[in-house]
C-alpha cells in the first residue's frame, strides 16, 4: 500500500515539476481570437446582436458567452465562417435575432431635416456629415446600413434605401441550369 502511494506521489512530483517549468517557459498572453472573430464580422456596428458593436460581440463569442448566429448583416456566410474558425457546427438564424435583410444605405430627406444632429451622434462610423441647424447628408460610401440613425430622428426624415443592382456592382449569378433543375 505504502509503496503504491509512494510511486504515485513520485510520479506526481515529477510531472508537477515538469509542468511548472513548462508553465513558465511557454507562457502565453492575450487572446488573438477576438481579432480574428472581429475580422469576420461585417463592422456595421448595428447592435442587432444585442452587443454594443462588432468588437464587443467578438469578445463575447471568444469568451463563449454569445452564439455565432446573432449577426444578421453577416448573413449565413458569416455564420459559416465563424463556425469554421471556431471549429463548431453551423447554426442557422433563429430565436430572437432578426433575419438578414437586403443591403441598404440610409437616406436623409433634406427637405424635412431640421438639422438636430441626433443622427450624427447615433452614427457609429461617422458617415453623416452636417452641423447643428444645417442639413445633414449621409456619405453613402461609408454608410454600413446599421439603421441606428433611423430611430433617433425626431422628424422621421431618414429612410433606408436598398442598394440597387447597377452595372458597377453587378455580379455573375450561380449557373442555374444544372441537371437537378433542368426543364
Amino acid at each position: 500500500m505504502l509503496s503504491a502511494l509512494l510511486v504515485m506521489a513520485a510520479i506526481a512530483i515529477v510531472l508537477g515539476a515538469v509542468l511548472g517549468f513548462a508553465a513558465i517557459k511557454f507562457r502565453t498572453e492575450g487572446n488573438p481570437l477576438v481579432d480574428k472573430i472581429d475580422a469576420i464580422l461585417p463592422q456595421t456596428q448595428c447592435g442587432q446582436c444585442s452587443y454594443p458593436g462588432c468588437k464587443p460581440y467578438a469578445t463575447a463569442i471568444a469568451a463563449g458567452e454569445a452564439d455565432i448566429n446573432r449577426c444578421p448583416p453577416g448573413g449565413e456566410e458569416g455564420i459559416q465562417k465563424l463556425a469554421d474558425l471556431l471549429g463548431v457546427e453551423f447554426k442557422p438564424f433563429g430565436g430572437d435575432t432578426a433575419a438578414p435583410k437586403a443591403k441598404s444605405v440610409a437616406f436623409i430627406d433634406e427637405a424635412i431635416c431640421i438639422g438636430c444632429t441626433l443622427c450624427i451622434q447615433a452614427c457609429p462610423v461617422d458617415a453623416i456629415a452636417g452641423a447643428a441647424k444645417q442639413m445633414h447628408t449621409i456619405i453613402a460610401a461609408e454608410c454600413t446600413g446599421c439603421e441606428l440613425c433611423v430611430a433617433p430622428c425626431p422628424v422621421d426624415c431618414i429612410s433606408m434605401l436598398v442598394i440597387e443592382e447597377k452595372i458597377t456592382n453587378w455580379k455573375w449569378k450561380y449557373p442555374v441550369y444544372s441537371l437537378t433543375t433542368k426543364k
Partner: protein, 191 residues
C-alpha cells in the same frame, strides 16, 4: 534493426491503430475536417504517444513491477495527462493558430484511447524499451497517416453532392468504414 522496422511498419499499416484496432476514433472524426488541423493533431499525437510509450515502459518496468501491476492503468493515465498538458502549452506558445484549430481536441488527447491503448498493448505484448518506443511511434505515425488521408478525403467531399441526411459525420463514418475495409487488404502481410 529489422525487427524494429517490422514493428514500426506493422503498427503503421497492418495493425493500424485506427483502421484495424478501431482505437482513437474521437480525434480521428473530430479533427479531420481540415488538412492542416489533421497534420497538427497527428504531430501532437505522435509526440505524446512516443513519449508516453517510453515513459510508461520505464514506469511499468522500474517503478511498478509485477507487484504493483494494478496501478498500471492509473499511472499511465497520470503520465499521459501530464505529457498532454505539456504539449498543450508548447503548442499554444509555438503555434496559436494550430492551438485554435485543434481546440478541445488537444487536451482531449488525454482521453484518446489510442494513446492509452498503445502503452497498455506494449505491456501486454511484453515489448522491451526500444520495441515500446517503436510500437508507440508506429501507432502514432499510423494514426497521423490515416488522419491526414482522411482529412484530404473529407476536404474533397465538402463539394460532393452527398444526400442531405448523410452530410457531415454520417458520410465521414461511412468513409472511415470503407477505409478500414481497404486496410484489411494488408492483413497477413506481417504476422
Amino acid at each position: 534493426m529489422t525487427e524494429y522496422l517490422l514493428i514500426l511498419l506493422s503498427a503503421v499499416f497492418v495493425n493500424n491503430i485506427v483502421m484495424v484496432k478501431i482505437l482513437g476514433l474521437c480525434p480521428f472524426m473530430g479533427v479531420s475536417k481540415k488538412l492542416e488541423a489533421a497534420i497538427g493533431m497527428g504531430a501532437a499525437t505522435t509526440f505524446v504517444l512516443t513519449l508516453a510509450s517510453g515513459s510508461s515502459y520505464l514506469i511499468n518496468h522500474y517503478l511498478l513491477g509485477p507487484e504493483l501491476s494494478y496501478l498500471t492503468t492509473l499511472s499511465f493515465i497520470v503520465v499521459i495527462a501530464g505529457i498532454v498538458q505539456f504539449t498543450e502549452m508548447v503548442v499554444q506558445k509555438t503555434s496559436p493558430v494550430l492551438y485554435q484549430v485543434l481546440g478541445i481536441y488537444l487536451p482531449l488527447i488525454t482521453t484518446n484511447c489510442a494513446v492509452l491503448g498503445i502503452p497498455l498493448l506494449n505491456v501486454q505484448a511484453k515489448h522491451n524499451f526500444m520495441e515500446s518506443i517503436f510500437f508507440g511511434m508506429g501507432g502514432a505515425l499510423g494514426f497521423t497517416l490515416v488522419m491526414v488521408l482522411f482529412a484530404g478525403m473529407r476536404e474533397r467531399m465538402e463539394g460532393a453532392d452527398v444526400p442531405a441526411i448523410f452530410k457531415g459525420s454520417a458520410i465521414a463514418m461511412i468513409t472511415a468504414g470503407l477505409m478500414s475495409l481497404s486496410f484489411m487488404g494488408f492483413s497477413g502481410l506481417i504476422k
